[in-house]
Amino acid sequence: MIQVTGLVKKFGKTTALDALNMAVPKGSIYGLIGPNGAGKTTAMSILSTLLLPDGGTALVDGHDVVAEPMAVRGVIGYMPDFFGVYDGLKTYEYLDFFAAAYYIPEKTRKPLLGELLELVNLSDKYDSYVDLLSRGMKQRLALARCLIHDPKVLILDEPASGLDPRARAELKEIIKHLKQLDKTVLISSHILPELGEVCDQVGIMENGRLIASGPVEEITATGKGASLLRIEVLERINELADFVKSRNRVSNVEQDESGLRLIFRGDPRERGELLREIVEGGWAVTEFSETKRNLEEAFMAVTGEADVNEH
């Protein structure tokens, strides 16, 4: 549904997108994660026809974002990371305005607005002024606005940022519901765990490139390139931390009272080698295990891996 090939975008000397390649299958919820400045918003702006790329191609439902921007706008619903609402407009007027902006006939608008407000649990706010709604409600209203022309693709940039846990949970439920409506959703977030729950696939972006992409289970699975290790020893933890940091294939070493957590890139043989070195170093090892990663840890592992590859 979304096909991005070699997408490049530069702002002066800064390269926001560095030959980005990405494919979002039809009907999937694709989460884009990455640190601030990774290029998520730039990629989404290009896909939403708000920004021209300097190179590469981006297709949405087969339409090129540069050559056929109007066709792309017809199939996407875009929700930016920061957005405002119009003062002095009521909820139904706000949605009616956007319905008109998509040339939806006036006769069909009224029932449509009712359905959309029901979908986002805002039916009781039909007659309220939009600028008086809470942030969570505004976010849901924006989602209803995205859906007004029944787009095939939704591009949601940080939709959960700034929401309280309840509002975030409500938003997640709505996004899950969108899957049942057969929408393709591209969603970005820096709050990593929440994406794991709603997404089928995730892509990890860093420095304008997609450095990992695949189903959530695959990305979070251990033994896929990098693994998360837990090492516990009886004494000399500080020394052990210094020792493992000096080893190749080790990164993101975190120390606590009883041991270390670290990202290890290597096959089982190399992992065994590390254990042997530690034992030979005189440490009394009480635990040396691989732990299951959540999305955040997977992200740390993959981005750490990219750093190592670059240096």
Partner: protein, 276 residues
Amino acid sequence: MSINPVLLKELRQRFRNIKSPLLIALYLLVIGALVLGFIYLLWRHMPGYYRPDSSRGIFILLSMAQLGLIGFVTPGLTSGAISGERERQTLNVLLTTKLSTGGIVVSKMLSSISFIVLLVVATLPLYNIVFLYGGIAPSQVLGVFGFYMVTIYLFAALGVACSTYFKRTGVSTVTTYGLVFALGVGTVLLSGFIIEVTRGPFPTPPPLIALLLMDINPVMVMLQVLGESSVGMERDIWLPYWSIYLIFYLTVGTLLLFWSGRKLNPSRARGTKFRV
């Protein structure tokens, strides 16, 4: 034909806002106070006398005051048209709809113009004071209002163009006022400078450029519309004095609107979204 949704929304927002009736009241208060103050000064020492030229004086004062207020209000109402959307973070969403950027620009400008026209029309009852004493033909009043419309068109287009080009409304507003000031005062100063520089030992007609600069100056043209023909310079141009004004204001205004529409279109303008 249906109304552009942006225009409908803008009008709805503008006329629902408490600021709008307050602005109309303030506008009428300023113009009314000026006129009534002028009448008071005229009749204070000569009560009971009627002089047709006094009525004419009121008309000129009223019309000039109105022109000054148009020059003051129009940039204020238009210079935030697009940059305001950008600052409120509503522009990007608007640009991803199926509305054309040209449509957005024109609708924004029309909604601002409609309010300014309302301000001007609301002053019509004040013109009754002039008609009460005679001395002014209705066609002159019509001419003045036609002149206002043309002037508002360019001033509003300048405001919209600045707000499209500049990211921040503050910069856009200052620039628009600067440009309106250049048209209202700068053209006369420049014209006078050119005439002085080119003046020879013998009387010669002023250079064409100086004439043209005078012809696009709203104050000079306004005075001619009001029948103060002594203000106009001798001219070799075959076109009537108002035609150059009309052509210049409508053409430049329309070009600015076209340019704004293109500039706003993200599919054409590289990198504009991130201008500071």
